[in-house]
């Protein structure tokens, strides 16, 4: 059963990822990205990371992709990009070599490191009928709000800084409109 779900989710992830880099239209690329993000959410669910799967769907597939689509529409860049011509000579073969080499290095690292992948944590509570269906969320919340509470508070500062900075960056003031023609 897990094999079947893994196969379907892996197909979703890979088809979506290839779609992101091969679709000429930016809107189509963004919709392929949704497919990949949902596939990753399914992979989170079958690995008992239920809370992260929900956050993945809400934050990534919901907020971030909508933000991408919004910017595409706002800038009016929803034009078809010509992918036939290479802007730089030999760029694509070199990029292919670099990415395949990166995948090879990662897989080699996983292969050599697989011997030390044994249990060493305090224990991951698997949600079932005995522990309750929200056991994963409870355990994650206990980790975040006890051991990592300082980091959690710092992320709130980070989000405020990001929002204020983006408003300043994207705002068109009267001064900048008057200065820009110079």
């Amino acid at each position: 059963m897990e094999l079947f779900v893994f196969g379907c989710a892996a197909l979703m992830v890979l088809i979506g990822a290839v779609g992101v880099i091969t679709r000429k239209h930016p809107v189509h690329a963004a919709l392929s990205l949704v497919l990949t993000l949902f596939g990753v959410a399914v992979l989170f669910v079958i690995q008992q990371a239920h809370f992260l799967a929900a956050v993945q769907v809400i934050v990534y597939a919901g907020a971030i992709v909508v933000l991408f689509l919004f910017v595409i529409m706002l800038l009016g860049v929803d034009r078809v990009e010509n992918l036939r011509t290479e802007p730089l000579t030999n760029q694509r073969p070199l990029a292919l070599i670099v990415s395949l080499g990166l995948v090879g290095v990662l897989v080699a690292a996983f292969a050599t490191g697989s011997g030390v992948l044994h249990e060493r944590g305090a224990g991951l509570i698997i949600p079932d009928s005995a522990t309750g269906s929200d056991a994963n969320t409870i355990q994650l919340a206990e980790s975040i709000f006890s051991q990592y509470v300082v980091a959690f508070e710092v992320t709130s500062v980070l989000l405020v800084v990001a929002v204020v900075g983006t408003v300043l960056l994207a705002r068109r003031t009267k001064d900048s409109v008057m200065e820009s023609p110079k």
Binding site: L14, L43, S143, A151
Partner: protein
């Protein structure tokens, strides 16, 4: 028994995340539209998140999932700032390829 033998192990998930990371790298290197390059960076972030969750299950440790939570928060902030920069740069331009951003070229 066969179904148990064919259950995907952690290596399958890790190899899938490596392939996803490679696809994202390839996209960043070949695409010229800044928005699509940004989407490829999201692919790479998701590949890393997938490997974190896999290792959290494999090592029986909740900290892997905790760090994925923080990665998601930082990724959301990064997307907001990045798209703000792209909007600020691209507002007064007609063309939108990364090759055109060469004002600082000596």
């Amino acid at each position: 028994m066969i179904g148990f033998a064919l259950a995907p192990t952690a290596s399958w998930y890790l190899v899938l995340s490596a392939v996803l990371f490679g696809i994202g790298t390839f996209g960043v290197l070949i695409r010229r539209n800044p928005l699509v390059m940004f989407m490829c960076i999201e692919l790479m972030l998701n590949a890393v998140n997938l490997s974190f969750v896999t290792l959290a299950r494999q090592l029986n440790d909740i900290n892997g999932q905790t760090i994925v939570f923080f990665v998601m928060v930082v990724a959301a902030a990064e997307v907001v700032v990045g798209l703000g920069i792209i909007v600020a740069i691209m507002r007064n331009r007609s063309s939108v390829t990364a090759d055109d951003l060469a004002e600082l070229k000596g």
